[in-house]
Symmetry: C2
Subunit: 82 residues, 2 copies
Amino acid sequence: MPLYIDTHHIEGLTGEAAEAAHQADLETQEKHGVKYLRYWVDEGGGRIYCLIEAPNKEAAMAVHEEAHGHVADEIVEVKEGK
Amino acid sequence: MPLYIDTHHIEGLTGEAAEAAHQADLETQEKHGVKYLRYWVDEGGGRIYCLIEAPNKEAAMAVHEEAHGHVADEIVEVKEGK
């Protein structure tokens, strides 16, 4: 399944809010055939990076949209480097 | 040790060039006390994302600078989300 990294920029982000949003993603992802694998948060700078397996970009975005409405600023298809 | 994600944008990027650069990072990192853990490449869009353990940003950047000269466009301190 394709792999994606998405990036979010959210002013006033807290680690707790990111965790709650990620939990909502996990509860929503199955019906879209998506797996949110890992994520990393920069609280001070308001950034989140998510690593996602999804059939396509639209499915990955649909999970965020439905779970909490914080759609990514950018989503990029990637391959993991060796 | 702090964790960082850095991002690169390199026109005409190939997976092979990214792999060679990463190999050079691995050979250079020890003397800076840095560990390049994983990286992801978007060949078409010319993006690389690196996940790095480093004592500080400057040490992480110094590895790229010395190994191949492709310094990141941005480097952000992150915490992995639960």
